[in-house]
């Protein structure tokens, strides 16, 4: 399914076209946003973003820096509202329900939509095991078998073999790449349906980056992943779908979305073509 928004200063048109060659057309979407706008105070930073995230796939959000990708990501798990001047409009649907509906419990939503941040931030005063279990501890959910959960999450994050003998070591004693994988394991412990990743590899070396990309690939078989990345090659490697954001002297907006292969080989919009070919950004 290809969604294309053409930008016009006075009106916005939304056109949907069925793509014939896409087998994922029949997939349900785990998350969907409609008409998302975001403000910081009077500053309009995101305009009319309507996007669908197909289940069990990886969607990459690409675009030059400063066009609102991270802000958009934070809207998906209701982290945007922690900034004092933040405001938004539009809807975000998780399993058919708007997460911003009145009475929605934000904390519960964040248990279903997890997040991994740009800079690895394991809790320094907790051991590796405690870090992984931090989610259930904080939400005071009972865990039947703690050891099983820890092993499962660390394995899925690709860290189990390296730390299984030192689960009592402190989180800060790991290398950068290992810390980030610990953060991924921590996010997995609450069994989210969707995992948001905000440039998870930008602070890491190429070796760690590759391993995390493998992890993302494995995880995507059982959950929906949305990843913001500056690195186009990474987007090409890791994501199934891509959404290209751009900010032209105004709020950031969605230019084009589609299959990664289409976006990179045969984009519909000239700006997308310019970006993926490195002519700007």
């Amino acid at each position: 399914m290809i969604t294309m928004l053409t930008d016009n200063t006075s009106t916005v048109e939304t056109t949907h076209q069925q793509a014939s060659l896409v087998s994922e057309a029949a997939q349900t979407s785990a998350m969907e946003t409609r008409g998302i706008h975001a403000w910081f105070g009077k500053n309009h930073v995101l305009r009319n973003v309507s996007l669908q995230f197909p289940a069990n796939s990886v969607t990459g959000l690409i675009g030059p820096s400063g066009c609102g990708k991270s802000t958009f990501l934070r809207l998906l798990n209701r982290m945007h509202e922690f900034i004092p001047t933040a405001a938004m409009a539009g809807e975000v649907f998780l399993d058919g329900q708007d997460i911003y509906r009145p009475g929605a419990a934000a904390a519960e939503i964040r248990l279903r939509v997890g997040m991994v941040f740009q800079k690895p931030n394991p809790f320094p005063s907790m051991t590796i095991q405690q870090n992984v279990l931090a989610g259930p501890t904080l939400s005071k959910t009972k865990v039947a078998d703690k050891k099983d959960l820890v092993e499962d999450c660390l394995t899925r994050a690709g860290l189990w073999k390296e730390v299984k003998d030192r689960l009592d070591a402190y989180g800060s004693s790991l290398s950068g790449g290992q810390q980030q994988r610990l953060c991924i394991a921590r996010a997995l412990a609450v069994r989210p349906d969707v995992l948001l990743m905000d440039e998870p590899c930008s602070a890491l070396d190429p070796g760690s980056t590759l391993r995390i990309e493998e992890t993302i690939h494995e995880l995507s078989e059982s959950m929906t992943i949305v990843i913001v990345t500056h690195n186009m090659q990474q987007a090409a490697r890791v994501s199934d779908h891509c959404a290209f954001f751009l900010s032209e002297d105004g709020p950031g907006h969605l230019v084009e979305t589609g299959l990664t292969s289409m976006i990179f080989s045969n984009p519909s919009d000239q700006r997308t073509a310019d970006y993926v070919q490195g002519r700007f950004g």
Binding site: R34, G35, H37, E81, A86, M88, A89, A107, K140
Partner: protein
């Protein structure tokens, strides 16, 4: 699949996460129930007065929070309980300070009459009627001593700050450390020191200068520390530009660095003055107390606002008590003026 769209121009920013009226009412209800139950507890157990009610209130909050955790998500219930507790703690702390300001104004007001600020207590005793006498001697004494203390302390404080920030001498760390240590000197010890040196050895009597020196000891750490922070804010490229033009360090400091933070330094000095304006203990030992308006700072005791209050308290009658409150009122006003002056002169350069 078609989507209805809303043209951009009609979209308004919203805050769907804001507390709904319902949830605010629920929180207030929670607090009110705790309050009511506490009143009940007070009535039943005979726990007395505001403290009793307060203890009952906190107890009720704890119980309600515990019960509430069964109905709502435990994390949310604990969060609510913590929020109410912290807000209550804050408001509790505010009450005495509000009481202080209120008492000072309410109980000091009767002392004010037409000549209050311009007469001294030379011919009036503390116990006499309130429309006689005044505290002109106290105001003048305090102001004189503050000026002298400022003259001693501000240059020294700025010099110390220059040493730490500009010269970065070998002992910069030591000086900083000692300044910090000096800020812990009890005020009475500063008074004792000046007494044993200046009063006994030099002046052979109480004097305003001795009092000013004691105040300067107490003021110096504040001025030094604030001046240091202000000087640190001067960007290095300013100094680099000056050196690149061939200026000496002295010229750079006096012509470039200091002028750029002039208002900050003035603010630091006035703030230091505000802190010592109310010091009583050192003055009791160095400048004593004198009832006559005088400008003689070199020889003999001199009045000051804190010692005026102190001596009026000692007299013990209701009139003298009111005079003490009146003095407190004037002192507080002086500190407020100095404070506001410091803020408006310097602005908040370590802003939030």
């Amino acid at each position: 699949m078609t989507t209805t769209f809303v043209p951009d121009t009609l979209v308004k920013p919203g805050r769907p996460w804001r507390r709904t009226h319902r949830s605010t009412l629920a929180t207030l209800g929670f607090v009110a129930i705790a309050g009511l139950s506490s009143t009940g507890i007070v009535a039943v157990t005979g726990l007395a007065g505001p403290l009793g009610w307060y203890v009952g209130f906190v107890f009720s909050l704890a119980v309600l929070g515990f019960l509430g955790s069964f109905f709502r998500d435990r994390v949310v219930a604990i969060d609510l309980f913590a929020t109410v507790l912290i807000c209550t703690a804050f408001m509790t702390v505010l009450i005495p300070w509000v009481s202080i300001f209120y008492s000072v104004i309410k109980r000091g007001a009767p002392a004010f009459h037409k000549g209050y600020l311009t007469t001294d207590m030379l011919v009036t005793s503390s116990g006499e009627a309130l429309n006689l006498g005044g505290l002109s001697h106290a105001i003048v004494g305090t102001l004189l001593m503050l000026i002298i203390a400022a003259l001693i302390c501000i240059p020294l404080g700025i010099i110390a700050a220059i040493y730490i920030v500009e010269i970065k001498g070998r002992f910069a760390g030591v000086v900083r450390f000692l300044t910090q240590a000096m800020s812990g000197v009890p005020s009475i010890v500063a008074g004792l020191f000046i007494y044993s040196t200046l009063v006994i050895l030099v002046f052979h009597s109480f004097s305003g200068i001795a009092g000013a020196c004691a105040l300067a000891i107490l003021m110096l750490p504040t001025v030094t520390r604030t001046a240091e922070e202000v000087l640190k804010l001067v960007p290095d490229h300013l100094r680099a530009a000056s050196y690149a033009l061939g200026a000496s360090q002295a010229q750079t400091t006096f012509r470039v660095v200091l002028p750029s933070v002039r208002s900050g330094l003035i603010s630091a000095s006035v703030l230091g003055l505000a802190r010592v304006a109310g010091e009583t203990a050192p003055l009791l030992l160095t400048s004593g107390y004198f009832i006559k308006l005088t400008t003689n700072v070199g020889n003999g005791a001199i009045g000051s606002l804190p010692t005026y209050i102190f001596s009026a308290l000692g007299a013990g009658t209701t009139e003298s008590m009111t005079r003490a409150w009146g003095g407190a009122c004037v002192l507080l006003a002086l500190i407020l003026i100095l404070f506001i002056g410091a803020r408006s002169l310097g602005g908040r350069n370590k802003g939030r």
